[in-house]
Each structure stands twice: as structure tokens, then as C-alpha cells.
Amino acid sequence: MVATSNSTVDAPSVPHPSGAAILAAIKAAGVREVVAVPDIVTSDGLLWPISHDPDFRLTRLCKEDEGVSICAAMSFNGTRAVLMMQQTGLMDSLNAIRAIGMDYEMPVVMLVGLQGKEPHLPPEQSSVYGVRIVQPVLRAMEISHSLIEAPGDEAHIPEAVDRAYALSRPHIFLVGRAPEAS
């Protein structure tokens, strides 16, 4: 069963990030390979535009943990990649991230949509259990992560990607509000 929020009634309106700005930041980080399982949070603003953008090569996956291995393997010759999924897929991929990203110390950069999160709330205040636990789980696993919620949050993407590859460690961008397509 997918838990959904029931606390968005009368929620304040908040600005959403620009999908185009996020994609520009990903390109600025030197990423041209995207591997993905569709996620409704990032579908219209990121994944569909990526699928039409000749600057990117998109590899569609059947299951998210495949992408952890694909991105790690690509990195051996310096190829940078981003793995896209929903937080349900992140939870399902934790052992792959543990083994390949953390134990093997490999750079795996992920963009994870937080499906069901109330746009005006931080993830840990969400009424949705599957959203609320994401950051505590990542902290327990010592996995670097950051939020993309508001316009301008994408500015840190190139530096975070650079750091992931320089340190050879995973980094996860948590997308808490659906990016606008423009």
C-alpha cells in the first residue's frame, strides 16, 4: 500500500524548483548518463525532458538497484552518471548502496523524488511514514544527502557531484517538491 498525505488541505502554497535549472546544473556537473526508474515527483519536470534531450543518454531500468551497479561501474573510466528513482526504490536499494557505494567506496549520485511529501513541510515532518524515515535512515547509514525543494536549491548540485566523485562516495539529492517543467 502506498501511504499518502492527508495534511495538505489548507496547506500554504510554496514555490517549486525549476526542472530546467536542475538539468542545467546536472549538465554543469559533467553528467551525461542518466539511469532511471520513473518517479511521479520528477516525471514531468525532469525525466520526460531528459528523455528528449540529446545531451543526455537515458537508460531505463526495471529495478532501482540495477542502477547503483551501473553508475558505479561507469565511474571506473571517469564517466559520471545520475540515478533517478522514488524513495520506495531507494528503500529497496539500500543493500546495493551499502555494498557498492559504502563498503566499496564508489561514487553513486542519486536523485530521489519524495512521493507523498507535503510540499510545505520538511521531509522529517511529513505525515507519511515512508517519507519521514528517509533522512534518519540515510544518516544511520552515513550516506551524504541534500534537499532540492525551492527554486535555487539546484545551485549546489555541481559541487555535490564533484565531491561525490572526488571522495568516491555516494550522494543523494532528495527532491521534495515536484520540479516545474520550465
Binding site: E33, T59, L61, K63, E66, V68, A96, I100
Partner: protein, 191 residues
């Protein structure tokens, strides 16, 4: 009829060029390391059937190299969707060789679910691999190898095998930083 695993690997060895990448799992990996230690042996696959996905990443990022995945049947069953992902990716440089012993060998040799029924050759064909074939006889496999080893992929070759010589299981090496660094350094070597 079945093929001793080390004899299958010995038959394969002359067909693997220096610049090729080999991704191998579990006992097949240990046997291959003993029989053909080489810098572009990729051993850092973790667990849970991820070898085929590592192979795909390497094939996508290195289109000028052939990538051989020496997979296990139990491993592939844990990542069966990767067959579809590989077929859909468009890679032509990936050769998937499945060493099918119908058991989880290193975890106590327990049988696979439906061990006597699973059709791995059929799985790959149905997923969209360019070609798929099976062998259970060493001499037939050896004779057929030159006919498909250089053809465009993705190619599936299922080998019905039994254990061969008992090569040691060096888990510390395959999970260690030294093996990954050796592989990484191999990319920097002039070709």
C-alpha cells in the same frame, strides 16, 4: 551431460583479449582468477545478483571494449529484470555467459527454486537479447565458440556446469580495495 566449470573457463580463455573486461561472480570468479588472472577482471560486484548490471554499466561506458559477464544462475534469478534492461539499452558489446549449476553453490549448494524447470536460454531470448544458446557438452561448446564470440550482443550463452577443480575462495581480495584499484589502473594503461 554437463561441463566441468574450470574446463569451460579454460576453453573460453583463448578467446578473451587483453582489452576485454570480464565480470565474474562467486565460484566462477574464483576459478577464473586462478586460471586467468588479468588486470581487467572486474570482481567488485557486491552480491544479490548485480554482476549483469555492473556489466551493463561497463559496456555503456566502454563501447570500444567487449564486456563478458560470467554470471551464476542463482545470481541472475535475483536480478532477472536486468536481462530486459540490457536488451533495451542498445549495447552491442556485452556477452552474458551463464554458469548454470542449478544450485546456490557457495551458500550450501541448496537447489534453485524450480531448479529442473527454469529455461535461462528462453529468458534471455524473451527479454530481447540478440541471440541465446545453451551447451551441456564441452566439445560442442568449444567447437561453437568461434562462431559467436565476436558477434554483436547482447548475447546469452548458458552453460550447464558442475564444479571442477576446487579453487580457493578469496573473498578478502574480491571485496578489497586492491582489486578495484588494479582494475581502475588497467584503464590508464596504454592500449
Amino acid at each position: 551431460m554437463t561441463i566441468p566449470r574450470d574446463q569451460a573457463l579454460t576453453a573460453l580463455a583463448p578467446h578473451v583479449r587483453d582489452e576485454d573486461i570480464v565480470v565474474a561472480v562467486y565460484q566462477t570468479n574464483f576459478d577464473w582468477m586462478a586460471l586467468n588472472s588479468r588486470p581487467l577482471n572486474y570482481v567488485a560486484v557486491g552480491a544479490m545478483g548485480q554482476a549483469s548490471s555492473h556489466g551493463l554499466g561497463l559496456a555503456l561506458a566502454n563501447p570500444d571494449r567487449r564486456v563478458f559477464v560470467f554470471d551464476g544462475d542463482g545470481s541472475l534469478l535475483m536480478n532477472l529484470g536486468s536481462l530486459v534492461t540490457i536488451a533495451g539499452s542498445g549495447v552491442t558489446n556485452l556477452h552474458h555467459l551463464l554458469f548454470a549449476n542449478r544450485t546456490y553453490e557457495v551458500n550450501g549448494a541448496h537447489p534453485l527454486p524450480a531448479a529442473d524447470k527454469v529455461d535461462f536460454e528462453g529468458f534471455a531470448r524473451a527479454a530481447g537479447y540478440r541471440e541465446s544458446r545453451s551447451f551441456s557438452d564441452l566439445e560442442t561448446f568449444r567447437a561453437a565458440l568461434p562462431g559467436f564470440i565476436d558477434t554483436p550482443g547482447p548475447q546469452m550463452t548458458v552453460l550447464e556446469i558442475v564444479p571442477g577443480a576446487p579453487y580457493p575462495r578469496d573473498y578478502a581480495y574480491i571485496h578489497g580495495a586492491e582489486a578495484r584499484q588494479r582494475f581502475r589502473d588497467a584503464f590508464k594503461a596504454p592500449r
